[in-house]
Each structure stands twice: as structure tokens, then as C-alpha cells.
Amino acid sequence: MVTSTGSSPPVSNGANATRISFAHPHVEFCENDMHECRLVAYLTCLLTLTPMIRFDSVSKAYPGTSRPALNSVSLEILKGEFVFLVGASGSGKSSFLRLILKEENPSKGTVHVLGQHLNTLASRKVPYFRRNLGVVFQDFRLLPNKTVFDNVAFTLQVIGKSRGFIQEAVPDALKMVGLAGKSNRYPHELSGGEQQRVAIARAVVNKPAILLADEPTGNLDPATSAGIMTLLERINLGGTTVIMATHDAGIVDQMKRRVIELISGQIVRDERQGGYQTSAIPTQSFGRMATEEVAP
């Protein structure tokens, strides 16, 4: 497991701060395992450091606008990470997610996702690339004329999965999100939280390596949101990398996961176990470098 919480002994934030000098920002992850003197674990951990997503000074400018939506963004996201993407509306969160999906092409810089160089990925290969990604939206985007089961099955049907596979996978996914008994309901018969669970089931039914969530709790009350977050956490524990754009400070503060903050298209903070608000000292060289670049 790459996440630093869990089996390794608790390391204080102060200890983390002393490791700023490491060349690779993520090596400290594996350092935690060193405390238990497990070399094998350390090495396997290093292997997982191949980033799932890598942005190299990526800029995205939409035609007709002077200010770019993303401005020279560089970052890496590793397998199994849970990343919050925070920032005001218009700070570039959605552009960031769209670049990962290759719904947009960067104006400058390179984007690598799952080992694919997205800048040069042929557009006819994009559909096959997207089958490795799951996406969840604030507005659920369910098909109103299909049942819960059919909504989830639709994903598999259109990528050509067999009927047998669908009959197995869909109930599994619905069970995982806690909707096992509601497969014959229609979306309008469900609560907002349940609809979002259907959307999540749809996103993960094909076992994607990466789950992108664009403000998945934006339309939900706090209690329901907590349920959704528990679900996303469970999906993350299964090994899926989760990237979640959100405005929900409570959730970010409570989860203590990696936080990437964008302001006007630039990364101003990239903090492990961060909160919604900028903390006084950025705990990562990577984040601090970005901060320095921002400074005029």
C-alpha cells in the first residue's frame, strides 16, 4: 500500500518535514516502511512509484481567453493515491480532470496517464484508453429512462462486454455501493445520495485504475456526503487511484489525504495529509517549488 497511513508506525508531521531534501517527492512514502526494516517491502514500494498520472509543465489556454486555465502545472500522482483537488471555481480543477480524460489537449507541456502519452494518443485509441478511467460528476448524469441496473450495465454494454459478464459484474458493483436491493428502480425514484452511488457503481463496474470525481458531494447533505466518502475510501483501498475535485472543506480536513490546491491555474500547494486551508509550511519540496514559481 502506498498510502502512508496504515501498517507503518505513526510518523509525526515533524519527521515528514525533515525529509524535504529527498530528490523524489514520493520516496518518503517508502521510507516509512524502512522503519520496520523491510527491504523487500521498501523495494516493492519503490516499484509502485511509477506515476499513474504525470503532468510536465502543462498549460491549457482556451481559445479567446487571455488567462490560461492551467499554467505550467507539473505533478505526479501514484498508484493507489487518494488526491483532493481544491481551489476556487475557475481555478482549473475541471480543466485538470479533462486533461486526464483527454477531453482536452494541453496547449503546452506533456500529460502521461497510465503510461500513455496523451498528447500523441490517436483519437481512435482514446475510447480504449478511457475504459481504464471511471468518472463521477456532481450532477450524477444517470440515464432517466433506464433502471439502476441498466444504467450500470449500459457502461459495459457499450464497450462490448458479454451478457454473462454483465450479469456478474453489475450486481457486484451495486452491492459494493450498497444498492443491492434497488436494481430495478429508476433514478428519479432514488435520493440524491443513492443516485450518486449508482453513478459510482457505473464508474467502477469496469474496475478502472483511476477514478475521477468532480465534486461528487456537491449536491449532497453532509451525512450523505460522508457515506459517499466512505465508499470512495473503500474503492481507494481496493487499489484504485482516486482524484476528487471538491469544495467541501470538512471532508478534506477530516480525510487527511494528499491535497493539491490550484489558484488561477497554478499549483500553490501539494500537501500530503493536508487540510482544505493552506497550512503555514508546505510539507513537500514539490509543492513549495510550485509556490515559489507563483511568487512574482
Partner: protein
């Protein structure tokens, strides 16, 4: 599984905008009927050309007592003049172009005239002497009539060297104009049909934009996304072209063969069912191809990634 899914989508799309589909069917029906009619007309022209050009002769009319035109001076062409023309037709210069020729006497011309105009009161006014004696020449290549005209027009006792093909060409020009008009109308209608198909498909895609968005998001291949729409357009156009094919067969069967053949009762040949059955597949392929192309272009906007 996938085929069933695609066909289900097609049925859904067709049901959702029935009125547009009906208009596509009608427009393709009418336009392809015009196309078919134009093709049939061309067939007709070719058939008539084949039939008549073989029979078309170059006639060398000799002078009679009453003629003043050409080289005539109101004197009957003499035997010597006729023999001179005959010798020229047999000469090395002209013989290679001539398949056969025969001489038509006053009496033969009169008999032919009486047979042709037996119903007409004019038949009783003509006498054998007023009708020209003539050489009737069948050429090896009917296009080379000018050679005869040039070399024989100046001969003494020759009133006129006439290429009968000239008369036929006028008829063909009329038929050709009709055919071109039909093609022009068909082209206009086909443009309308193509635009209508594109609009229908856009409408259909717009009404399914949620599904399309999700399909694109979860990685449905472009082929999978566009196939139902293209099939939708092709289906509508196919219905239209089948109707047009039926119309063409019906026109040939009931109008040409049933009515024209009886009413004209001429020796000329008319297009038959065989020709109509050649036209039908052309119409079907044309309709399907146009629909597939315009639907493909229309849907491509929704496939951009």
C-alpha cells in the same frame, strides 16, 4: 449482444423522430424516382439510336421536272447523270465507306409513299413523276455522311444529298433535354435529401446526447457510437429508394409497356422491365450510400474527443 443493442438503438432513434424519418423517406423517394426516370430516358435514347442509326440512310435525290433547288433546272435527271452518280458510288474513293446502296425509281418512291401515307388525303394528290428518284445509301459508319454530301452535292442532276440522321438527332436532342432536366431536378432533390438526412441524424443525436456523453466517457468506440445513427439514416433512405425502385418498375410496366406501346404502335423499341430492373439496384445503392455519407458526416461532430 452488441448487434441487438445497436439495432435497439436504431429502432429507438427511428421511433423518436418519426416525422423526420417520414420526410426523409419521401424526399429520397421522389428524388430517386427522378434519377431513375432520367436513367431510363438515357436507356431509351441509346436504344433508339442503336435501332435508328442502323436504318438511317443517306439519300441522294435526283432532279425531277419540277425541281429548282440544288443543281436542278426543272429538267429530269438524265440516265447519264444517274449513271455518273452510280459510278461515283462505286469508285475507289467512296466504295470503302458504303455498306450497300440501292436505287429507288419513281414508281418505288410512289409505292412507298402510298404505303406510308395511306390514311392521309395527300396520298391521292401525288403522282410518281413528282417524287424524286434517289439513291439510298447505307454507310459502314453512319457518322461519315459528310463525305458523301461533300463529294456528291456538286454532281449534275443531283438535287440534294440528305443525311436522315439529322432528323433523328433533333428527336434525340429533345429526349436528351428531358433527361438532363430530370437529372437536374434529381440533383436538387438529392441535395435536399442529404441535408434532411443530416438534420434528422443531428436531431436524433441531440435527443440522445446524454447517452452519447456517457458512451464517450466510458470509452465506447467511435464505430459503436456512430453505427446506430448511420443505420438510421440508411434505413430511412433505403425505404425511400425501394419505393422509388417500385415506382420505376411501375412506370415501365404500366405506362411504357401498358400504354405507350399500345398507343404509339410504331416500330420503335421502348425500354422494358429488364431495363427497369437494372435501374432499381442503382437507386438502392445510391440512396444507401448518400444516406450513410451524410449521416456519417452529421454524427462526426459528436465523436470528437
Amino acid at each position: 449482444m452488441r448487434l441487438g443493442l445497436i439495432l435497439g438503438e436504431v429502432a429507438n432513434g427511428l421511433r423518436r423522430n418519426v416525422s423526420m424519418v417520414i420526410s426523409v423517406v419521401l424526399v429520397t423517394f421522389i428524388s430517386l424516382t427522378f434519377v431513375g426516370a432520367a436513367i431510363l430516358l438515357q436507356f431509351q435514347i441509346q436504344q433508339m439510336k442503336g435501332y435508328w442509326y442502323d436504318r438511317a440512310q443517306v439519300a441522294i435525290f435526283m432532279c425531277t421536272d419540277v425541281d429548282t433547288t440544288g443543281n436542278c433546272t426543272q429538267t429530269e435527271a438524265t440516265k447519264a447523270q444517274i449513271d455518273a452518280v452510280d459510278a461515283k458510288l462505286n469508285s475507289d474513293a467512296l466504295a470503302p465507306y458504303i455498306k450497300k446502296y440501292e436505287f429507288e425509281t419513281h414508281q418505288q418512291a410512289y409505292d412507298n409513299f402510298q404505303a406510308q401515307f395511306s390514311d392521309s388525303p395527300i396520298a391521292s394528290f401525288v403522282t410518281p413523276e413528282t417524287l424524286n428518284e434517289s439513291f439510298r445509301v447505307n454507310l459502314v459508319n453512319p457518322n461519315e455522311a459528310d463525305i458523301l454530301i461533300e463529294s456528291l452535292s456538286g454532281e449534275a442532276g443531283v438535287q440534294e444529298v440528305a443525311d436522315q440522321r439529322g432528323l433523328l438527332d433533333q428527336i434525340f436532342a429533345v429526349l436528351n433535354a428531358a433527361s438532363i432536366t430530370a437529372i437536374g431536378l434529381a440533383a436538387l432533390m438529392l441535395i435536399a435529401a442529404v441535408l434532411l438526412i443530416a438534420t434528422t441524424i443531428r436531431l436524433s443525436a441531440f435527443s440522445r446526447r446524454r447517452e452519447l456523453g456517457i458512451m464517450r466517457l466510458v470509452g465506447a468506440s467511435n464505430r459503436f457510437i456512430q453505427t446506430p445513427f448511420i443505420l438510421e439514416g440508411v434505413f430511412a433512405a433505403l425505404v425511400g429508394s425501394l419505393l422509388a425502385g417500385g415506382a420505376i418498375v411501375a412506370i415501365v410496366q404500366f405506362f411504357v409497356q401498358g400504354y405507350l406501346v399500345n398507343s404509339l404502335q410504331t416500330t420503335t423499341t421502348l425500354v422494358g422491365l429488364g431495363d427497369a430492373l437494372v435501374v432499381v439496384p442503382i437507386l438502392i445503392v445510391l440512396g444507401a450510400a448518400l444516406a450513410a455519407a451524410s449521416a456519417g458526416v452529421a454524427i462526426s461532430r459528436y465523436l470528437k474527443v
